[in-house]
């Protein structure tokens, strides 16, 4: 298909063609939304809007996949190295912004205020490192994968294989989270079961990357970026017009934040709020008492439940009430371990809800100097890990192999960050505007007149949103709302009272974000296995067609594995995503940057440095992170163990803080103790440092 450049047209004609295609495409998408909006006014049911959005977007991605199918190695692995800087920037934006960015981030900001800004800083600032240290040099090197660079620069298969292992480790944990997100959105959009949603979404991912590799993924990602950015910006602009009359929320939400700050002070002292928080405190204290003597507490609970049932029966209570009491009695834990777990969870959840609301704008909250300084330390450590991790994730770095030249690689990073910036710059505004709605419109509303979207979301999943009249005054207090972060973006259109078609569009945007990232990650894993392991190590004589074939089969296997893991709903998905950043940071960043900037770095230094960085990161996580600790040790972690195992109060999410410096140190020390790399490696380093040394174009050096 000539639309995505397979014939011999010139680069500038190719670019003009692309501009035309994507302008029409954007216009088409907007018309589609407008038509649906009109149909909604004419009475099209909601679930039909959901179906239409899902079907139209997935078919569109599949269509692009079919149109750009290919069996050519350069097309399959690096999209023919002719993606213009701006389009590669858009594709990188979509590749980069996952379900976590689109759905999760504004929610995190809503829940944690200033603390959540660590993600904003880390996930954008990392691109400075990509631009300054990696992208142009990797493009000049011009092979197919990141382990390719390690294998060539550090002479041999050992560093390449460590690279393959690390690439798979971080990409796989990351892709599981994306497929989980796909399942969640598909289920919400269509009402299908979560597991069915996963596999429906999987079909959308596969048809694209399977048929056309990097080429199909690139052009689909551009299309997905357009949808996700429109879907993200529109509701925020709408909310902003509603509150401030200005359609640029990013410029004016400072004043909204001021109002929230004033409201927070009021809510902190409000007697009704204090009453509700006091009830939660009492419940938590009761759970603490019960934990002191579990068998006695179990007996007391049973007796109380039985007595309630007796009383209801004796007084001829309503059938529904009797049934509820029977169910409550039947649900009581029967053995001591279950009861202990139930009391522990009651203690933690009630204690959490008895806490006063955070001050949104306050940096590093804490009860004393020491707590504040720990909060600051962890904020900065997280920013550090996310930044270095950003600059080391193989599926992002790989994208800079697809541009035509070093010059365009540099410009492309600039475009990438610009397109990412549009969303990240808006997320804090969205969080503040949504908070303002909740604090001023929802709080103090009588329960009888709550908006209907609350009930709808409560029905989807009570952990996302639930409201209970704890102090029985018939009025909703802030402390009576329990809200999950993932709901903020998806529910914003409803919170702001926008038509349902906007909700459908936001869900389609979230789907685009999750699908595009999953595409890029699956391709990275499949390429690491087929190109680096199969072709470079196992069978160097394999033909091009065979390599592409192997890659496609592996893609299918990996996708099914990831879907299988995601369907188990692994416990701590957000942690897994963040762990991927620490792993990538510790494994790749020192070896890649020293490989370019220090000629003396050699094979043994790099190999041991990567292993040491990964090992210490992993060790720190399994000794301090509750879920991993349980997985590794078989017993639950206690606060005492956490205290004993933590170094300088750093949270496990930032384990890369130890891995990165250790990686650098080991590479430098071991390299100096062993033989310097040979003349040919010195020349390779010189080759990547200069865009052109002898007048040859990089296109020629990349032909391979």
């Amino acid at each position: 298909m000539s639309m995505f450049g397979s014939d011999n047209q010139s680069q500038s004609d190719f670019k003009k063609g692309l501009n035309k295609v994507y302008t029409w495409y954007t216009g088409g998408f907007i018309s589609f939304v407008i038509v649906l909006a009109i149909l909604e006014q004419m009475g099209l049911p909601r679930n039909w809007i959901g179906y239409l959005f899902l079907a139209a977007t997935v078919l569109l991605y599949a269509g692009i996949g079919v149109m750009s199918r290919t069996n050519d190695a350069a097309e399959y692995y690096v999209a023919g190295r002719r993606v213009p800087a701006m389009y590669n920037g858009m594709a990188t934006g979509a590749d980069w912004m996952s379900a976590a960015s689109f759905i999760g981030m504004a929610g995190t900001l809503y829940l944690t205020g200033y603390g959540g800004l660590a993600f904003i800083l880390g996930w954008t600032g990392g691109y400075c490192l990509v631009a300054l240290f990696l992208a142009p040099y990797l493009r000049k090197f011009g092979q197919f994968t990141i382990p390719d660079f390690l294998g060539a620069r550090y002479e041999g298969n050992l560093p390449r294989l460590i690279g393959v292992f690390a690439a798979i480790l971080c990409s796989f944990t990351y892709v599981v989270a994306q497929i989980y997100g796909v399942g969640l959105i598909t289920a919400r959009l269509t009402g299908l079961a979560f597991e069915v949603g996963i596999f429906a979404g999987l079909a959308g991912i596969l048809v694209c990357s399977f048929l056309g590799g990097m080429r199909a993924v690139t052009w689909t990602q551009v299309a997905q970026y357009v949808i996700l950015i429109i879907a993200y910006l529109l509701p925020v602009v709408w909310l902003s017009v509603k509150h401030t009359g200005v359609p640029v929320p990013q410029a004016v939400y400072g004043y909204t934040l001021e109002k929230i700050t004033a409201k927070e002070e009021q809510l902190l002292k409000d007697p009704k709020e204090l009453e509700v928080r006091g009830i939660f405190k009492a419940r938590s204290d009761a759970a603490v008492e019960k934990l002191k003597d579990v068998p006695a507490a179990m007996a007391a609970d049973k007796a109380a439940a039985e007595k309630k049932l007796e009383d209801l029966k004796a007084s001829n209570g309503a059938v529904a009430e009797i049934q509820a009491a029977e169910a409550a009695l039947a649900k009581l834990p029967t053995d001591e371990a279950d009861a202990r777990a139930a009391y522990t969870s009651a203690r933690t959840s009630n204690a959490a809800r008895s806490a006063p609301p955070i001050r949104h704008a306050q940096a590093f909250p804490g009860k004393d100097e020491e707590a504040q300084s720990i909060a600051r330390k962890n904020f900065m450590a997280l920013v550090f890990c996310l930044m270095i991790g950003t600059a080391a994730l193989p599926h992002i770095l790989m994208r800079y192999y697809t541009v035509p030249s070093v010059r365009e690689a540099r410009e492309s990073v600039s475009w990438s960050l610009f397109f990412i910036f549009l969303l990240y710059f808006t997320a804090p505004a969205l969080a503040v505007l949504a908070k303002y709605e909740v604090y001023t419109v929802l709080v103090n509303t009588p329960f009888a007149s709550l908006p209907e979207w609350i009930g709808r979301w409560n029905a989807v999943d009570p952990s996302l949103l639930s409201v209970v009249d704890i102090n029985k005054d018939g009025i909703l207090q802030l402390a009576e709302i329990s809200i999950g972060g993932d709901i903020i973006v998806l529910a914003t259109p409803e919170i702001g009272g926008l038509p349902y078609v906007v909700s459908g569009m936001v869900a389609a945007g979230g789907l685009a974000a999750a699908l595009s990232t999953a595409d890029g990650l699956l391709l990275t894993i499949a390429n690491a296995l087929s190109h680096d392991l199969y072709y470079k190590v196992l069978d160097p004589n394999a033909s091009t067609a065979r390599r592409v074939m192997v890659s496609k089969c592996l893609l299918l296997v990996v996708a099914l594995c990831a879907a299988y893991v995601a369907a188990q709903k692994p416990a701590d998905i957000l942690f897994l995503v963040s762990a991927a950043f620490s792993f990538a940071a510790a494994a790749f960043f020192p070896a890649l940057t020293l490989g370019i900037f220090w000629k003396r770095a050699n094979k043994w230094g790099a190999s041991l440095g990567m292993v040491a960085g990964l090992a210490i990161t992993f060790y720190y996580m399994i000794t301090t992170q509750p879920w991993l600790y349980k997985l590794a040790h078989g017993t639950a972690i206690t606060p005492e163990i956490i205290k004993a195992n933590t170094w300088w109060d750093i949270a496990p999410i930032s384990a890369g803080l130890f891995g990165v410096p250790l990686g650098f140190a080991v590479i430098i020390i071991v390299s100096l103790l062993t033989k310097a790399p040979g003349r040919d490696i010195q020349e390779l380093v010189e080759h990547v440092r200069y865009p052109s040394l002898d007048g040859k174009t990089s296109g020629a050096s990349a032909a391979h």
Partner: protein
């Protein structure tokens, strides 16, 4: 091939601009964040430190990358190491 003195000079200039931009990056990321609690004066409604982390730093990052691309693409031409036009 043997690198000429011009080549070495090009690389030194590259390292210098990289270090300079990295310094700015470090300042807006870590220095300003470290003093966030003290920098809470009002800035168009936002506390200044909140604004920096939510917007200001992001703008600086964009400018850093844009400037680096522009500077290096010029430097390539000046030192004759630019790629040929395709």
């Amino acid at each position: 091939m043997q690198l000429s003195a011009r080549h070495h000079e090009y690389w030194r200039k590259n390292l210098r601009i990289t270090a300079f931009l990295l310094g700015i990056w470090f300042f807006v990321t870590f220095v300003l964040v470290f003093f966030a609690r003290d920098l809470d004066f009002k800035f168009f409604g936002w506390p200044f430190s909140f604004w920096v982390a939510a917007q200001g730093a992001l703008v600086v990052y964009c400018v850093i990358i844009w400037y680096y691309a522009r500077y290096m693409n010029k430097l390539d031409k000046e030192y004759g190491v630019a790629e040929g036009e395709e």
